[in-house]
């Protein structure tokens, strides 16, 4: 094939460059390559003469005689010739399916130039001359020899016979030689040689005949036969062989075509890649970083595009199920590749010629293209392996259908869905209870935690809370009413602290309280003392066993036991059965009471005061665990017992660890001890005091008075107590309670018959207290005590100011005077620093002023009145 009339043979064996005429070998039609370079043009230079006899030669005139009856001639010689023919044919036939030897000639005329040693071509004329005479008979021009060589013709028959014999012998010899050669060749070479040999022999013969003819004709022209005429000699004798040859040639041709096509395709691909590479380079040089779409090439996608395609495929690979896509895309890609490459073949050649690349460059590009192909194959391979692995792994997928999965999901979700999410949540319930207790009802009632009652009630948790609140309010109101209208307060306290035992009052009762303060109003003081004594009860007898204080281990053990009981009680509370069910309720009640008894006993409140120092109860309160337990515990204890507890607490107040260790808080605040004491104090204030607060808030004045007196009496130095935060808190608590009571009485909400007496008592005790405290007023302030300037010093002072305010509320005017004189310094200091801006920030200033105001308002004054 030849596009644009140019040479299109891409590769040829190196040795044949000069020989080839560029014609395709094994063409079964004559290929005229008049324009080829190897054509030496001698044919044109030929001066043809000897055309005289053309008419005779080509049958222009004269009758056609029997001279051309070759078949007839053949038949005469039949047996021998038949042998020769058969052997020749035999030689030829086995060679039918052959791959032509690569060294076979590219063009027919180059056969004559075959330099191989196996060639039987006559290189010297001597070999040919022998054969001349035998060929004469078969010359197509018997007449001319007859005409031109009468002598020969006379001796013709004889000579002819001789010639015949010679020919036959020669033929036989030839056949022998041929056979030998054939054997050799078959051993050594491929059969193409044999064919060629036979072919050559044919040609030899023909050539000899022709030469003979020429000689007989006296033709002086050493004319090489027209190159193309020879092989297509019309001699019918060799038709079969020729046909065989042609067939073989055709087969060879086809086979080679196929081979060549493969080679060509590869070559095309390489060429394509080379071209693309070069084009890419050129375009890059010209345009800089080019977008792939802006290609000036007329051809299709470039290598880069192909690569981009491949990259896209890679991406797609990663994102989706790679195997499937890969299998589809990769073969398509290669097919497309091949198509494109094939289509680009001509352009490749064209471009190559235009660009005139050197051989070396081409080689390099070819090598690169090869590398790319190999790489692409490897990538495809990898992809295929990955796809296979994934397919293997996922071979059991989809055993569960989507509907199955949805089914399971629905079931699981239905288990989670509830109308009230907090119905089963213990902590949510407790949290709610705590919030309610802080915000809703101030009274300390049992918070009953009920579970499973969310169902059947609308509006979820809020409804439950509201209902519970209502119930509690009702209950507390009823209880208060009962307490007020019921037993006399004194009676209600009868036996609150247990039975009296042992000695009677009259016979020299063992004085529990040593109230010896001559400055106080005797009557009132005595009464107060008596009351306190009474409230405390005569639990103290001579046969009290003095024990060692509880060890820490014992304390912890007892606390743990108490915790267990508390948990049981709480659980019982939750499981409180329906009140309609009498039987169960009774059972429950007995169990509940039993538990509560255990609690009470565990607290060791009733243990005599003198049992140990510290009292067991105090020891129990020492660990923070104990402090935190108390509120939980006291929820279940009745208020009378609570009062007992408070009394005990007050009585042993100074034994409390927080009170004893309070001075630590005045020291440096970065020690572990400080931290510990601080923690304990916080716990105390938060738990214990909180738990007694509601109880105190419900106490009568005389009880408060008694407690107050008790505290004063039991403390060696009440000022010490007041210097402690817990003590301060307690005192403030009492004072405020008294104030509330007083106000209640003043407003007339609750009238009390013993108001006068109680007030008198109270005042007496108060005055006593005041007297004790007055010299130490200033020392109450942590700011005065602490040397270093603590950060929250004003905050620390605040409780003191509060206390002082409460104090002032209770104080009579004379006492006010005392207060003012004592605290004037302090007040002024604060006010001045606040007003004059000696303070660090606004917070501090406000705090100072607030503190002072607390106190001054109680006095009926205000800080703004102070002008300095």
């Amino acid at each position: 094939m030849s596009f644009f009339g140019c040479q299109t043979i891409i590769w040829r064996t190196s040795g044949r460059g000069s020989e080839t005429g560029g014609a395709h070998e094994n063409e079964d039609v004559a290929v005229y390559t008049w324009g080829e370079e190897s054509y030496d043009g001698l044919g044109d230079a030929l001066l043809e003469g000897g055309d005289d006899l053309n008419d005779e030669t080509f049958g222009g005139g004269g009758s056609v005689g029997k001279d051309f009856d070759f078949a007839g001639q053949t038949n005469l010689l039949e047996p021998e010739i038949a042998q020769g023919k058969a052997s020749a044919l035999e030689g030829a036939r086995p060679q039918s399916v052959v791959e032509q030897h690569p060294r076979v000639q590219h063009s027919l005329e180059s056969i004559w130039n075959d330099k191989s040693p196996f060639s039987v071509l006559p290189r010297e004329n001597g070999a040919a001359s022998r054969r001349e005479p035998p060929m004469s008979q078969f010359s197509p021009f018997p007449e001319s020899p007859v005409l031109h060589q009468p002598n020969a013709s006379q001796g013709g028959p004889r000579t002819l016979q001789e010639i015949e014999v010679e020919m036959r012998a020669a033929a036989q010899r030839q056949q022998n030689a041929l056979r030998l050669q054939q054997e050799e060749d078959q051993l050594l070479q491929e059969q193409a040689y044999q064919r060629r040999l036979a072919f050559q022999q044919e040609r030899e013969r023909e050539q000899n005949r022709l030469q003979m003819m020429q000689l007989r004709e006296h033709s002086q022209h050493q004319r090489t036969p027209p190159p193309r005429m020879l092989p297509v000699s019309q001699s019918p004798r060799f038709v079969d062989q020729r046909q065989m040859m042609l067939l073989q040639q055709q087969e060879e041709h086809q086979h080679q075509l196929r081979l060549q096509q493969e080679h060509l395709q590869e070559q095309l691909r390489m060429e394509e890649l080379e071209r693309q590479l070069r084009a890419q380079q050129i375009s890059q040089l010209n345009q800089g970083p080019t977008h792939f779409s802006h290609r000036r090439q007329p051809s299709g996608p470039t290598i880069a595009e192909l690569q981009a395609l491949q990259q896209q495929q890679h991406l797609r690979q990663r994102s989706q199920s790679p195997a499937y896509r890969d299998f589809n895309v990769a073969p398509q890609n290669s097919a497309q590749l091949q198509q494109r490459l094939l289509a680009e073949l001509a352009q490749v050649e064209y471009m190559r010629d235009f660009q005139g690349a050197t051989q070396a460059e081409q080689e390099a590009l070819r090598a690169e293209a090869m590398r790319k192909i190999v790489e692409a194959e490897r990538m495809e391979d990898k992809r295929r392996r990955k796809a296979a692995k994934i397919a293997h792994m996922s071979r059991y997928n989809d055993l569960m259908t989507q509907s199955d999965k949805d089914f399971i999901t629905r079931i699981q979700v239905s288990q989670l869905v509830t109308p009230d999410p907090y119905a089963d949540d213990f902590y949510a319930q407790v949290y709610g209870a705590i919030l309610r207790s802080r915000m809703g009802l101030q009274t300390q009632d049992e918070r009953v935690i009920k579970f499973g009652t969310g169902g059947g009630v609308g509006l979820g948790p809020n409804a439950m809370q509201r209902m519970e609140q209502q119930v509690e309010r009702i209950v507390s109101n009823a209880r208060r009413r009962e307490e007020e209208k019921g037993l006399h307060s004194l009676h209600s306290l009868q036996g609150a602290l247990g039975k009296t035992s042992g000695r009677s009052y009259k016979a020299a009762p063992r004085q529990l309280l040593q109230v010896d303060d001559p400055s106080t109003n005797e009557g009132a003081a005595k009464e107060a003392a008596k009351l306190s004594h009474e409230t405390l009860g005569f639990a103290q007898t001579s046969n009290v066993v003095r024990k060692d204080p509880l060890t820490r281990r014992e304390v912890l053990t007892i606390l743990e036991g108490l915790y267990d009981v508390v948990l049981k009680v709480e659980q019982l509370r939750r499981d409180q059965p329906n009140s309609e069910d009498d039987e169960a309720t009774r059972e429950w009640q007995t169990e509940f009471d039993d538990m509560v008894e255990q609690l009470w006993d565990g607290l060791r409140v009733l243990v005599p005061l003198e049992t140990s120092n510290p009292h067991p109860f105090v020891s129990l309160m020492a660990p923070s665990k104990g402090k935190k337990l108390l509120p939980r515990l006291t929820r279940h204890i009745g208020s009378s017992r609570m009062l007992t507890l408070i009394t005990l607490l007050v009585a042993c107040f100074t034994q409390l660890d927080v009170v004893r260790q309070a001075p630590v808080l005045d020291g440096p605040d970065d020690t572990a001890e400080y931290a510990e004491v601080d923690r304990q104090t916080q716990a105390f204030l938060g738990s214990v005091l909180q738990s007694i607060l509601p109880v105190v808030a419900g106490l009568e004045l005389h009880v408060v008075t008694a407690l107050f007196g008790l505290l004063i009496d039991r403390s060696p130095d009440v000022a010490d107590v007041a210097r402690t935060r817990p003590g301060l808190a307690l005192l403030t608590l009492f004072l405020s309670r008294v104030e509330v009571v007083k106000q209640a009485w003043a407003s007339g909400a609750e009238a009390a018959p013993t108001a006068e007496a109680a007030l008198e008592q109270w005042q007496a005790v108060f005055n006593h207290f005041f007297l004790l405290l007055t010299p130490h007023l200033l020392s109450l302030f942590p700011s005065s005590r602490i040397n270093g300037a603590s950060l929250a010093i004003d905050m620390l002072d605040q409780p003191v100011w509060q206390f002082l305010a409460a104090l002032a509320l209770q104080a009579v005017p004379e006492q006010h005077q005392v207060l003012v004189t004592s605290l004037r310094e302090k007040v002024l200091e604060n006010v001045l620093s606040a007003n004059k801006g000696w303070v660090a920030d606004e917070e501090e200033r406000r705090t100072k002023l607030a503190n002072v105001d607390l106190f001054l308002h109680a006095l009926g004054l205000d800080s703004s009145l102070i002008t300095v």
């Binding site: 059991y396 055993l399 569960m400 259908t401 199955d404 089914f407 399971i408």
Partner: protein, 129 residues
């Protein structure tokens, strides 16, 4: 196919059971129930560290303690095969249903269809023919 049905299909097959505490039990499944409680026979028990082994003739495992079970691949192949067959059969039956009139229920037994489908088929055949 639901997990419990796969487990039921695995009766008498060998399997490996791992519990939530890491112990593994290798044995043949005897029986199972809706709570995934299973009984195995010819069991090799391994502790969670993998260094102690016991052989038990039979054992009972509470379903709630199971982390997972491993079943042999052959069982999965069989199940998958069955699923495909069922699906194709279902499709065929459903296709015939659709053409034979929708009965409002899928998966009607073929027996019923055979009984009632005869005359229907005939009628439909006439229509189609």
């Amino acid at each position: 196919m639901l997990p419990l049905s796969l487990l039921n299909a695995a009766q008498n097959k060998p399997m490996l059971v791992e519990l939530k505490n890491g112990e593994t039990f290798n044995g043949h499944l005897v029986n199972c129930d809706n709570f995934m409680n299973i009984t195995l026979r010819e069991v090799y028990q391994t502790n969670s560290e993998g260094d102690r082994f016991w052989k038990l003739k039979e054992c009972y495992i509470r379903g709630s303690t199971i982390k997972y079970l491993r079943v042999p691949d052959t069982l999965l192949d069989a199940v998958k095969e069955e699923q495909n067959r069922a699906r194709d059969a279902g499709r065929g039956a459903r296709g015939a249903f659709v053409s034979g009139g929708n009965r409002g229920g899928r998966g009607a037994p073929s027996r019923a269809r055979g009984g009632r489908g005869g005359p229907m088929r005939g009628g439909r055949g006439r229509g189609r023919g």
